[in-house]
Structure formats: structure tokens, C-alpha cells
Symmetry: C2
Subunit: 275 residues, 2 copies
């Protein structure tokens, strides 16, 4: 007689994964309750919970309390494509107000409906701490404009992205409109805002990290378990070589993907096939 040496919770896990793979459990379906599964397998509820936790932590199921545990529907991903988006924003900064009004910034991201997006912004003057100073290349204690943005999908109630943007105050204080968050959403975005104080952005550099969200972030952005967070640190440099803006952008990785295109310089004629 062959015994089954797998731990009890592993047997439940394998069983559920088989049912999902076989299509017996489809997205939206409720997983049998913990009590039922315990009885089915002749084990205690604690062990069943171990199996369910693995499925939750890998984003396969979602607990909706107190209804039950359900197979998750994979969310649609919003594509963020900085390599073309940043240039598009720069081109737009030269257009008239009417032309800029006709298209927004976040609507450029595909996969989502404009009408479904809710946008909020808050401005605040503050003093740069060690971290922000390092990123902006200014002295600690320098006055900066801190702008906090949040984009939410109304339908799903989930946050698409959230960002903190920092600009040295002396760059923007020539235009009082730039210090007032009632002017948001600003048609044309940051690059147009900067253009009103004579700043032309020359290049933008993105640093990308991924990590597990903190408990606070999970709750405030309604991120399900098993979903990492993209952290994009965006640095804008103007044609004089100054850092004119730094943003830290948080994107839940189950609803975002990033895309960068890198064009390469052409070889000169007849140059290929180095030996």
C-alpha cells in the first residue's frame, strides 16, 4: 500500500489547483468553504486555511468576507509606455490650450475608459529631506513643491496609480498658477507647466523597482494579496542639465505593465559582419 506523504495542506492545495486547471473552478466561482474542505479531506480547518493562504498569496483566489473565497478574475492591465509618452507630453506642451484640453494625460494609457477615471491632486510647499534632496540634487532643507496625485478607477473602486512629485520651489515660483492645486488637472501636464517658467525638459530617466506593498499601501490602494508594487522613480533633466522634477510613482503590478522602446543607431553602410 502506498501512503501519501504530502502534508495535509499540500493535498488540499493540489486538489484545488487541479480543479482550477480542469476548469471545474472558473473565475468568479466560489471555492468550497473551509469547513467543507476540511470535512472532504478529513482534516482540521487549520490545515485547510494553510492551503487557501497559498492560493491567496499567489493571487489565484480572493476572499470576500463574509461571503466566501472566490477564484479571481485577472484584472485588465493598463499599459504605461514612458518611452513614447514622455515625448508625446513634450510635443503637447507646445500646443494651444484648446488643443491640450482635447486630450488628457492618463487617457493615453490604453486599456481604460476616460469616463471611468477619477483624478485627484494636492499641492504642498515643504522642505526636502535627505532622500528627496539626493534625488533632486539640491541641499537638504531646500524648499520644494510637493504634489500628490492619485488616479482611481471609479467602476472597480481600485487605485490605478499614485505618485508624489517634487520640484525645487525656485523653479516654479515665477508662476503662481503652478503653486495652486485648483488648477489640476492641468491640460498638458508637468512638461507644459514647466514650459511656462521657461524650462525645456531634455531627458527623463526611469528607475524601476518592484516590491511587496506594505500593509498600509495594500489597504489604501485596495491591492489584493499576492500583488507586487511597481515603484518608478522618474527624474526629469532640462536642457541646462538641471534636475527639474523627481517623482515616485506607485503602480500595483496586477493592473499595470510597462513598455520601453529603445531605438538603436544605424550602422554605416556595409558595416555589418564583424568577424
Amino acid at each position: 500500500m502506498t501512503r501519501d506523504y504530502r502534508p495535509a495542506y499540500q493535498r488540499v492545495l493540489d486538489d484545488l489547483q487541479e480543479r482550477i486547471a480542469a476548469g471545474d473552478l472558473k473565475p468568479g466561482d466560489m471555492v468550497p468553504s473551509e469547513g467543507e474542505l476540511a470535512e472532504e479531506h478529513g482534516i482540521s480547518r487549520g490545515s485547510v486555511r494553510g492551503a487557501i493562504r497559498v492560493l491567496r498569496d499567489t493571487g489565484i483566489v480572493e476572499v470576500i468576507r463574509p461571503k466566501g473565497t472566490f477564484i479571481r478574475t485577472p484584472p485588465t492591465r493598463t499599459v504605461r509606455e514612458p518611452s513614447s509618452r514622455y515625448q508625446w507630453e513634450k510635443d503637447r506642451a507646445l500646443l494651444s490650450r484648446e488643443e491640450r484640453l482635447s486630450t488628457g494625460a492618463s487617457e493615453k494609457e490604453s486599456g481604460l475608459d476616460t469616463a471611468d477615471l477619477e483624478f485627484s491632486a494636492k499641492y504642498e510647499k515643504t522642505i526636502s529631506d535627505e532622500y528627496i534632496s539626493g534625488r533632486l540634487g539640491v541641499e537638504e532643507g531646500t524648499q520644494v513643491l510637493k504634489r500628490t496625485y492619485s488616479t482611481t478607477s471609479i467602476k472597480s473602486g481600485s487605485v490605478i496609480g499614485r505618485s508624489n512629485s517634487y520640484i525645487p520651489l525656485d523653479i516654479v515660483d515665477g508662476n503662481p498658477d503652478l503653486l495652486d492645486d485648483r488648477n489640476e488637472p492641468w491640460p498638458g501636464g508637468t512638461q507644459h507647466q514647466l514650459s511656462t517658467v521657461g524650462v525645456e525638459v531634455d531627458s527623463i530617466s526611469d528607475r524601476i523597482l518592484a516590491r511587496v506593498p506594505t500593509v498600509d499601501e495594500r489597504e489604501s490602494m485596495k491591492i489584493p494579496e499576492g500583488t507586487p508594487l511597481f515603484v518608478i522613480e522618474k527624474t526629469s533633466i532640462d536642457i541646462a542639465g538641471r534636475i527639474v522634477e523627481f517623482s515616485s510613482i506607485l503602480l500595483p503590478a496586477d493592473r499595470a505593465e510597462l513598455k520601453y522602446s529603445i531605438p538603436l543607431k544605424r550602422w554605416k553602410k556595409g558595416q555589418h559582419a564583424g568577424n
Copy 2:
């Protein structure tokens, strides 16, 4: 009298986080054992385990069995900078064999020692499935060269990255050397390999996702709990507009960061300050 309404495991969690924040528990230190913590707080071991799980899942502690639970030392991150790296690789494809030999590909990534890196490659002819066909823009069932790469840090024994690369076979079968993995590591990398069959890469597009690793990936790449996985889907397009290579690259996010620079076109003279 004020009662403490937090769940028991939450109290242990908060306590441990305070001790870490205060510096009482530093990287490398052992967290008190589950039994000790249970006694300290007058609760059962099961509740203590709940607190420890949160810390493990957010990458703060690491369990080394059967020694104990320890505060993790944040690993050094390897910077991957595709926007300059791809151009650098292209430039290198034109150099002589000696010049190409003098510098490797992965050594361009900063943060790691060349001598510490172990590299392995395996080639295999195969038939493209639906997914790969879609990515390469070829018909399902087309013959492709599949190349599997793995880079490991010898010292830490952990995998830095792993990738699967696919090239339509008709592109490379003109040069038998390209079908033989004994020629790896190939000085100059993929772009030089392609140059030997007359292919000049014109642009490369990276699609970036992040997700929680599967159990298999966690074990084979020695990824600690609480660490997401970067998935980079890299598509190379040649000057004729053909897709000449597709790779899927896995990078554990605790030891990687990505960096992309986007140069912007200059405005013409006197063009700023659109109204």
C-alpha cells in the same frame, strides 16, 4: 482602564517592528523564538506565527531552519540599464573578436564582481507554440532556436537572472556556429551573433511585468518569500522590420533594478511657453 483591542498577532507584530525600528534588532540578529515570544506576550504559539508570517512575507525576516528566524540583510541590487546597454551591445558587434573578448555582457551590469558570476547556456531546436508564435509574429509550428541562459552568483549561490530566448530558425541556420551552445559565452552577445547572418537590429522593445514567483521558481532561483519577480519580455526588431528575437527574462526583484533613459527631441529655437 484602557483595553488593547488589537488582535494578539498584531501586538506581537507591532512589538517586533518597533524593536527593528529602534535598532534593537539589526540585520543578522535572531528574532526571539516563537516559544519565547508566545510566553512574553502570554499568547499561544499559533498567534506568534501569524505575526512572523507577515514579516516573512514582506521580506523583513528570513527563517533559517532549524536555527531560527533572522532579520534579513537587504541584498545588493544589480542595475540593469537596457537603454544604454542595448546600444552598447550594438556598437560592440562591429568590433574585432579580440576587442569583444576583452569585455563581457553581464559584467556591464554594475554592483557585481565578474569573478563571482557563473554563466550557463543551453540551445535547443523546437517548434513554436501559440505564445511564442504570437511574440515572434510567425505561424504556430514554425521551427525556432530556443536558448536558455542562467546567471548565478557563486558566492551567494543565488540566481541573478534566467532567460529564455527564441529566434526563428531560418534567421540563424546560415551559420552553424549559432546553433551550438558550446560556443557560449559568445563574445559580443546576441547582436553580434545576428550580425554574422547579416541581421542589423534596429530597435528593442521591453515589456515589464512583476508578479509573485511560483513555488517552483522560488525554489530553483532561491528567491526568499516576499520577493516579487520581474518579467521582461524583450523583442528585437531588425532594420527590415522583422522580429528577429524574443526573450523572456526573469529577475528576482530584490536583487535587480531597471533603468531606462528617454532622450527627448529639442524644441526649435524660441519655441517654448505655449500659452
